[in-house]
Amino acid sequence: MTPRLLYPDRDSDWRWALQAATVRAGLRAGHRTAPPAGFDPSAGLPPNADDLVRDLGLQPLLEAMAGEDDLVFEVSRRLLLEATCADPAVVAHRQAALADCLDNPDAVLELYTISIEAADKLKGRYLGVLARYPDWVLRESVVTLTALLDSLRRLKSAADRHAPRFRSEVWKRFFAALRQDLEDSYLSEVQACLHALRLPHGILWSARLGPANKPTDFLLHPPPEGPRSWLERWKAWFRRGQDGYIFELSPRDEGGVKALEALRDRVLASAATAVGQAADHVRDFFSCLRAELAFYVGGLRLHDQLRRRGYPTCLPSVHSTGYNLSARSLYDPVLALTTDRAVVANDLEVDGKRLVLITGPNSGGKTTFLRSLGIAWLMAQAGLFVPAQSFAVSVCEGLLTHFKREEDPRLESGKFVEELRRMRSLVDLATARSVFFCNESFSSTNEREGSEIALQILDAFVEAGVRVFFVTHFFELADRFRARRSSSVLFLRAERDAQGRRTYRVVEAEPLPISYAEDVYQRVFGPGAVSVPAGRSG
């Protein structure tokens, strides 16, 4: 039994998700609890995960998906960041499942509730060090399974009611498996077995003599039944002593009682393993279900908020090859949820180009545009809807961001060195199918040096087939690409209207020179001096 709601061929890393959620809940509540043993906060995340969250502003997006639900937050964070490398089959799988969720939000929330309640029943039932003792494992597992039998019955009933309205193979398979594995007769059989395993009338076992004449090779035999009638008890009393060698321990013989318990543990080990693993599995099943549903619950919540504010969403087309990228009415969902102004949406048609150079005035919407594109790309590759009217993209293998970092005072001395080092480590992560989002890279040095370095890197990227979105105010750099008239470069510019006001729209347009000469001249000769002609005209 596995939900398989997130991947067609495997379970999600729900253990990690639950642990991450526990850690986050602790942090939010202000506890300083030690992280769970073996928990790796960065498991499964790309090495540049922190950069992505920071540069694309993912935190508020994830908070919008999660509300107060830490599990939704962590599952969504992991899947969104994992999606820097996408498998088109997984994307299709999730898109199909998500479409059903958007059609049946109440059913999905009911399933999510059942899975949460199942988890709540087990709170405090953690075995810990006692998991080393078969007798404990057997007892605990019998209790756990008995409790979860009820959740399984409710899940089965929900499946029976909702299954007909779900159309995707993902959900059909899930519901069919539930109905097949959890039929009533089987659940009754399990219940009976659990009852017998409480072992009310002692245990019967056999063994052979191993090394040192210690008993070994234990077999557990069907538990003895209690004497049913007076006659049987009478007969048993008569036979005692003839049937074998009998001894009885004194209750004060602590060593003896312990030794007897140790033997019991050995005898029960095999049965305890079987029941323990079954209990583990049912518990894991609910945990897994809960974690996988969490992603869709987050998607539903975000979708609901955007729709209520009147923004469009769509399921994107995700191509496994090529260099396609086109978007209509692409917007930044974080901005859409946090401002009351109408957020500017952009259209984009990249059409096979490798390098997109984005120029224009400061505060003209370049960074927001870069973010909205990065977020949409990640959401598309994660299998979610995207904040746009339509969106089509060819998958990338590694989405890498290189944003200028002026807010970090620690780096003041070697900012440029830090930029270079960061770029180098990104280059080490990249493949020819990667995409770079660069925001004012190398702006911590002068334009000439910065342009020269950027030019070399970008040339190498373009030749290798790496896709790059490069926001820059270096005219020198942009102009060198313009002069080449290369077919693999697209120029975008943050637009100004006729009055020179910013529209925050980004349109296809070649770079404009900024008249540095003017500034310099004025600085040298003082304001009001005669100007010199400035560079080329646009």
Partner: protein, 510 residues
Amino acid sequence: MDEGSSLLFPSAQPPPLRDRPPACLRDLELDRVVEAIVADRGEYGLEPVFYTPLRETDTVSFRQEVFRDFREPRVSDTVRAFASALRAVRAHLRRADKASYTLEKDRWFLDAAHLYVQAILALLEGLSSCPLHSRGLVRFRHRLAAYAASPAFRSLAEAAEGLQAELSSLRFAVLVQGLRVTVRPYRGEPDYAELVRSTFQRFRQAHSTPYAFEFRASTELNHVEAQILEGVSRLNPGLFLRVAEFRRTSGPLPAPWIDTFDREAQFYLGYLDFIAPLRAAGLPFCLPALRADNSEAFTEDCFDLALAAKLVAEGRLPVLNDFLFRSPERALVVTGPNQGGKTTFARAVGQVFYLASLGCPVPGRQAALPVPDHVLTHFPRGEHTLDLRGKLEDDLLRIREILQVATSKSVVIINEILSSTALRDARTLGRRLLGRLVELGCLCVWVTFLDELASLNEKTVSLVATVPPGQPEGRTFRVVRQPADGRAYAEALARRYRLTYHDVRQRFVP
């Protein structure tokens, strides 16, 4: 021991072994090697063997022959398996001594005897199926075959086998109700765990984590088990009487000469185990050809064994170097930059001679050398308490000791002495001391900062620890024959970020 069956010495009366390590062991860092070899073999007390280098060429050959036989994996595997079986036998016998219940003692002894019989037979079978050439192993196999065929051994084997089989086929049932325990015969009741497994099969995952149940690993019987055993023995009285009889009538185990073989074999296995990971990493080892005099001595591709063990553990490899003394050459004078591999080279040469005189394979692809009467070393010990004069005095005292002991058959390794002396004094003293050693006719490696010593006379050879061309900050750790040039070496170049067009382009070239 009538004919003797030692694996370490050809004669029936082996010479006494030293209890303490010779002084050179620490300078050559072979003390660490020996420690590592004996670490898991404490019970065998092998240190004295490693502390006692041999002087007779014939004894060295005797051991080299055994090493050659051990090169065949079937031989070393057989002996290795025997050693671990014998460890188990001894452990069982110790348990038989310590056990509290008679029924328990009887069984420990029976199990020990059974293991012993199997170990002897497996050893004989293993050794018989291999072609042996060494005097040591051939002699031992002969004696072993006679032992295994003796009537005493054969009746021990049969009795142990039979009783074991009977005991292990016995199954008995136990009913536990509260604190009341009934031991009774097993009547074919079914396996209930199997039934439980099949009921819960549907809830099993493909990769269920198995429960790491911890059972107290005690192999002693507690009194509950003892009482259950008592019950079982009452159900089967005849069998348990015969087991008790077996312990009373069988002699002491194992035979003393078998113990000796086991211990001596560990000398070979220990050394081979130590060098196995190095060999696996591609480092060469060889048994040196033995020369009657020191007119020629060489090793190709040798390396410092202690350093190599450390490097290989970190996934790295040492640099290989050659050394050669060809008459009239008597002294290799090594100069070069700091941290350039001079000390390591000197140590490697000393190790080759010491290890060769134990009869062991030496680090190197090919080697020929005389068996030295002494390997004498003087390395700085880093005693900061001595003042300069004290240090110089200490150096000279040590050299005097060496000159008193050394003969024309000795090997002398001197590392960076006189470094605390004024250059002019060092030059004069160095010439004089090296001159005396060369005069004596021993083989000598002299590591020094004094370039002039390298060209003392026709008996000295100049070796230099080299640097890569054009990279004064680099090190090759290669020590080669070339005139000492005494160049100064600059350090450190600026760091690059490998972000040129070519660097980045390179990244995406498949």
